[in-house]
Amino acid sequence: MASDPFDDVLNLEDQYYDQGYQQGYDDGYQAGKIEGRSVGLKTGYEKFLEAGRMQGKAIVWANRISNLRAAAAENSAELKSQPQDASAAATDRRPLPALPGNPRLEKNVTSLYALVEPGTLSTENNDEAVNDFDDRVKRAQGKLKIVERSVGEDREKDAPQSPRQGRNEI
């Protein structure tokens, strides 16, 4: 105890407040982190789900375009050995119905993929990464619509258009 008892008496309110504040700070820091983490998990999930979806769709389309299959086969022994038409397949591999090839479609599918290519999207939440991501997803959504329309797969699905912003704030 301090030597002058009156110091303590006069500062009692401050002292109690500080004690409470310190404990609140300790508890709150952890609680805030957990709360933020939970919201961040969901936000990151929902944003990147869309990018992954477009990757998957682009890959399926590319596999249905014979020119792209042929171009890829030149660089892959595995693909080359694969039968290109259903009749030659001894296994139960049945290629999906082919899409009519045309250079525009091929280009749209490859650029769609390039926009959301795995490994090139940063999952960090900083201004630069988020702006790059949002910009690319937006442009990929545009490409996706063009391809869907040209192959007759468009369903009136309005993709979520979030306003352009920096790092995701909570």
């Binding site: 805030g32 936000t43 998957g56 590319a62 049945r94 290629p95 999952t123």
Partner: protein, 230 residues
């Protein structure tokens, strides 16, 4: 999903702790000299009547509760404001990695379903069913079900990657999610069935448009693979 708001509970607990704390001064409290009476003085005898003494410490207790509680509240608010964004950033990276994988599953199944739509046969119906199931499983609620996550946002499931704990990557955690494992298995057999080559677009020598090229600066090599740190 799994988060219960904590504030009110914490505060209740705090108030309880404060009010049960015993602020009785130690025996050699120097304030006895001020507020109490010396032995032998007339007032000192009042100690024999406990009810007269008890009104005094309860006032201190009230003072303590009041100020500690308001301090606690402000402490919570100040700390949360500091840590919530940091927590968000952590969660964001992991959620993004899971999302990419889940999104691919859905994209593949959408692509297959759309391709088979015109045929309208059993294959189409099967693909459509798979897509519907995947959308349900891989919804935000499905993925973040409390079966897979602790309330503090850490995963409950076992990781497959054999790395020292300090080297675990978001990607490892994402890949080990039971629903991702389940659907990746289904996707593998679907891709084999329909002769879909996963890497087809990686194998094509690129002739990207300038616009695409300029946006492709963030390459895998340059991108630090986020390490897990929480």
């Amino acid at each position: 999903m799994h988060m219960a708001p904590r504030d009110s509970r914490d505060e209740d607990l705090m108030i309880q702790m404060i009010s049960t704390a015993d602020p009785a001064p130690p025996a050699d409290d120097p304030l006895d000299d001020v507020f109490g009476s010396d032995a032998g003085s007339p007032a000192f005898e009042s100690e024999d009547r406990p009810e007269a003494r008890e009104s005094h410490p309860s006032d201190v207790r009230r003072l303590q509760t009041e100020h500690a509680t308001s301090g606690y509240r402000e402490g919570i608010a100040a700390a949360k404001a500091k840590s919530i964004q940091a927590g968000f950033d952590e969660g964001f990276g992991l959620g993004a990695n899971v999302g990419l994988k889940a999104g691919q599953v859905i994209g593949f199944l959408e692509g297959i379903t759309d391709a088979l739509r015109a045929g309208n046969d059993d294959d189409f119906l099967h693909a459509q069913q798979l897509l519907e199931d995947a959308r349900k499983d891989l919804s935000t609620e499905g993925i973040f079900n409390e079966r897979y996550w602790e309330t503090d946002g850490t995963w409950k499931y076992e990781l497959q990657a054999h790395r020292p704990e300090s080297d675990i990557l978001f990607e490892d955690v994402a890949a080990a999610h039971p629903l991702i494992v389940k659907w990746n298995g289904i996707i593998d057999s679907q891709l084999a069935k329909w002769a879909i080559h996963r890497q087809i677009l990686d194998l094509i020598p690129e002739t990207p448009t300038p616009a695409v090229l300029e946006k492709k600066e963030v390459k895998v090599e340059q991108q630090p693979r986020e390490k897990l740190d929480w």
